[in-house]
């Protein structure tokens, strides 16, 4: 079994009713120190001053740009008028994971990127920071979610996976009176919010707090519950009226080069070898890796590659190099992520491809690479350009594979290019009992996209449920 799947389980399964998530997870102090929040929160006075800068646009572009369409001027106005609870409520109405979104959203290409201030030669309103200010206030208050469930409507839905899409779907369904059960194969709920986001953006504890609030609405969680066989699936189909697939993507894609499998890190506390980016992030976020030394090579130049590279650096690596088969101008990470990597001292090796992994005489890792150039039919390696890199850990970060194997089990759920095909307006799959959203349908976007998907699917399910009820009455 891979290291990734053998992380210590904090609970055997399910929740003890008296136990909340914060007590299930103990933050590692060293990790918290090394991964201190990237941005300091706004002070109360600064928040009001910033809120007062907002022009309160009509049909605001920031609201339109946000996939969950948070009423940005509405919540900012409430901050300006010292109504933080109202502000948090306004935000939560649109986005139940607003706390994590305020920390992880690439706002430069969303709300803040759309702010009219850009055309006014002024810095955009710090929407994410203001949202965080309101959400932090709400979280500190200890109040349960203000979206309390409507009367039971006789609908029971299972959400498979407990990442942002499922959580948003579950919260919306529960709010409108459905019963919801979330099934999670891992020990802790939250999906990538808990296991996959750089800790200096969103800590595991912060993610779990949001899950706990949703659980407080009466959503049932079954942890350590993988759905792997058709028998399990048949049981679920019998138990639930609808099933929402929020399963995300599969494991990080492998480099598929000689020596990769042989050097895979298998045991806890072993750090020399091959450990993919998501495994590394999950391991340090759960306190299983607190130190990393030597020379680290990250393969890939997307946002996850940056997260892993920065993590390696903060965990104590002597040097971290990002190896990318294309040029700097082709980097797929967001500009601000790339800038952050540079700021943290990450080095780059452009236009190179790893071709083999070997063990050196001093028991370290040798990564054989070849230069890559643009050929007539796409990229091609350059003969005679061999370069062997001496290092300690190789971290592949070249994108997640789809969860094909598992999804094939769902009869009648059509997939295309590894993604579940859905009606974008409702999240309905080709099997009317199944709805889906998040990374498994969009191939991997942001938390806020998953929240929007999950919420839309919830509304789709509710609509279908009502239609079915009406049909039954007719």
């Amino acid at each position: 079994m891979r290291y990734f799947q053998s992380l210590i389980l904090y609970v055997s399964h399910g929740f003890d009713e008296d136990l909340n998530l914060s007590s299930m997870f103990v933050e590692d102090r060293e990790i918290r120190e090394r991964f201190a929040a990237l941005h300091a929160p706004l002070t109360a006075q600064a928040a009001v001053a910033e809120a007062n800068r907002c022009l309160n646009c009509f049909d605001a572009p920031c609201m339109v740009a946000c996939p969950t369409h948070i009423d940005v001027p509405g919540f900012i106005r409430r901050i300006a008028s010292d109504n933080l609870r109202g502000s948090a409520r306004k935000i939560l109405e649109s986005n139940v994971l607003a706390g994590s979104c305020s920390r992880v959203c690439p706002v430069e290409v969303l709300c803040e990127g759309s702010c009219v201030m850009h055309r006014y030669d002024r810095p955009p309103i710090q929407i994410a920071q203001l949202q965080r200010h309101a959400m932090d206030f709400f979280h500190r208050s200890g109040e349960p979610l203000m979206l309390q469930p409507a009367a039971e409507i006789g609908l029971h839905v299972a959400c498979i996976g407990s990442g942002p899409a499922s959580l948003a779907c579950a919260a919306e369904l529960r709010r409108q009176g459905a019963r919801v059960t979330v099934l999670e194969r891992r020990a802790l709920p939250g999906g990538l919010n808990t296991y996959g986001v750089a800790d200096y953006k969103l800590s595991t504890a912060e993610s779990l707090l949001e899950v706990e609030l949703i659980r407080g609405m009466g959503v049932e969680f079954r942890l350590n519950t993988a759905v792997e066989s058709s028998a399990q699936l048949a049981a679920l189909e019998a138990e639930f009226d609808y099933i929402f697939l929020g399963v995300g993507l599969g494991a990080m894609q492998r480099l598929n080069i000689p020596g990769e499998e042989a050097h895979a890190i298998q045991r806890m506390h072993q750090t020399s070898g091959v450990l993919n980016a998501l495994e590394l992030i999950a391991a340090y976020k759960t306190g299983h890796i607190t130190r990393l030394g030597g020379k680290i090579i990250v393969v890939g130049a997307g946002n996850t590659a940056v997260d892993a590279a920065v993590a390696a650096k903060r965990l104590g690596a002597d040097s971290v190099t990002i190896l990318y088969r294309r040029a700097e101008t082709d980097v797929t990470a967001f500009d601000f992520e790339f800038a952050h990597a540079r700021h943290e001292g990450i080095e780059f090796l452009w236009r190179r491809l790893p071709v083999a992994i070997r063990t050196s005489e001093d028991d370290r890792i040798l990564l054989d690479t070849l230069a890559v150039r643009q050929g007539d039919d796409g990229l091609e390696t350059v003969p005679g350009s061999e370069l062997t890199l001496h290092c300690d850990t190789v971290i592949p970060a070249i994108g997640q594979s789809s969860l094909m194997e598992m999804l094939r089990e769902f009869s009648g759920v059509v997939m295309q290019q590894g993604r579940v095909t859905i009606d974008p307006d409702t999240g309905e799959t080709s099997n009317r009992k199944f709805y889906a959203g998040g990374d498994c349908t969009n191939g991997g976007r942001e938390v806020v996209d998953a929240v929007a998907d999950g919420k839309r699917a919830a509304l789709g399910i509710l609509k279908a449920h009502c239609a079915a009820k009406e049909a039954a009455h007719a």
Partner: protein, 484 residues
Amino acid sequence: MPERVMTEPDLRVTNFAGGITSPNPFWLASAPPTNCGEQIMRAFDAGWGGAVWKTIGAPVTNVTSRYSSIDWMGQRMMGFNNIELISDRPIEVNLREITEVKKRYPAHAVIASLMVESTREAWHEIVARSEDAGADGLELNFGCPHGMSERGMGSAVGQVPEYAEMITAWVKEKARTPVLVKLTPNISDIRAVARAARRGGADGLSAINTINSITGIDLDTLIPRPNVDGKSSHGGYCGPAVKPIALNMAQQVMADADSALPLSGIGGIATWADAAEFILLGCGTVQVCTAAMHYGYRIVEEMSDGLSNWMRSKGFRTIEDFRGLSLNRVTEWKHLNLNYKIVAHIDEQKCIGCDLCHIACWDGAHQCIHLDRVSGPMDGHVELHATPASRESESRESITVTPVTRREREAAFGKHAVGHGPYPTPLARIPRVDETECVGCNLCSCVCPVENCITMVEVPTALPPETWEERTRGTACVAEPQIT
């Protein structure tokens, strides 16, 4: 036309109200900044031209706290309120210091603000003592709206024209220096008291004193501000918020033949521009308090400098060159030209797409600014257009995703992003004015955050000017009551 080379304008005030001179028109109003000689001398050093001494009278006992303020949009003290009484120092100390100040600053104006009980003897005595001390003029405090009024002084006098006239007359029996009467705005028509002061023989007026106010209530304790051991009392309101009220009252006084006297303008003055406006309505000097309490005496430096530069740019050499120039530009509504038409014009190059003009026009005006440049212009009936609410709900129902790939980001934010027309803002977000429906109310240009983006453009009507009075003259529907 201003000359190409012009000497620095002369800010001096000479012979104001029949004999007061000062190096510039900026005086400190009677208030805490003029509490004592030491302060006033520092103020003169900082550049103030004159000071009206904190009101002298039988010493009082004050309470704590005394002030409260209104903050607005993160700015402090947009409006300010006080319940402080007149000077709490002995009369003889104040008078001794007046002598000292005048000895050291003979060119500056030192005005004694006075308030005593309403007897002829008391007023005669304080007038004589103040003038003996060396005051350049007297300001009768008939305006203080709190505390003193309960004792039959301050605005209790200023709200009854007969009292004001009587006391002014008593003072004039004795006074050798110019006598200014400070007017209270807490009256239905400020001209009633201005006329009374004039009848009583006043040489000039000061206006306005503070406005009765309760600035607010602490929503934790439910106690209004300022809090004096669990209770509050109405105070006098001042600061930038009151300037429009003060300007109107200055105009009312100066435009009324029976009221008009040399006027020292007061009310929310914080900058040279504020001062220029009061002078344009006829004021010979201006008095400042709140701004000096907020930032200190040093603000006068910028006020002098700014006024001087503006005068220079306008070709005015002296204060008298522009004093009162705007007075005849204020008239009664019935004399305004009904055939003058302006419409809003939006500069598409400057528009940032906040669409505040659209929602303001739809909800607060006349429904003639539309967001239909992409869907196709549609003039006429409001019912033909999408309502603001339907537009917003359409946005909320739209599906948008994070642009994660370079191509998606380019499409959303790049130079050739979808929806962009020839202007910096996407065409769909640039509002369009239906000029046939636009009533020229100005609201859009008031709400537009971008300078000169929305301007009001005259549309020739080809009609001769006509006022309401002219239009209705000789008709049966004259509704104007005749005041005799």
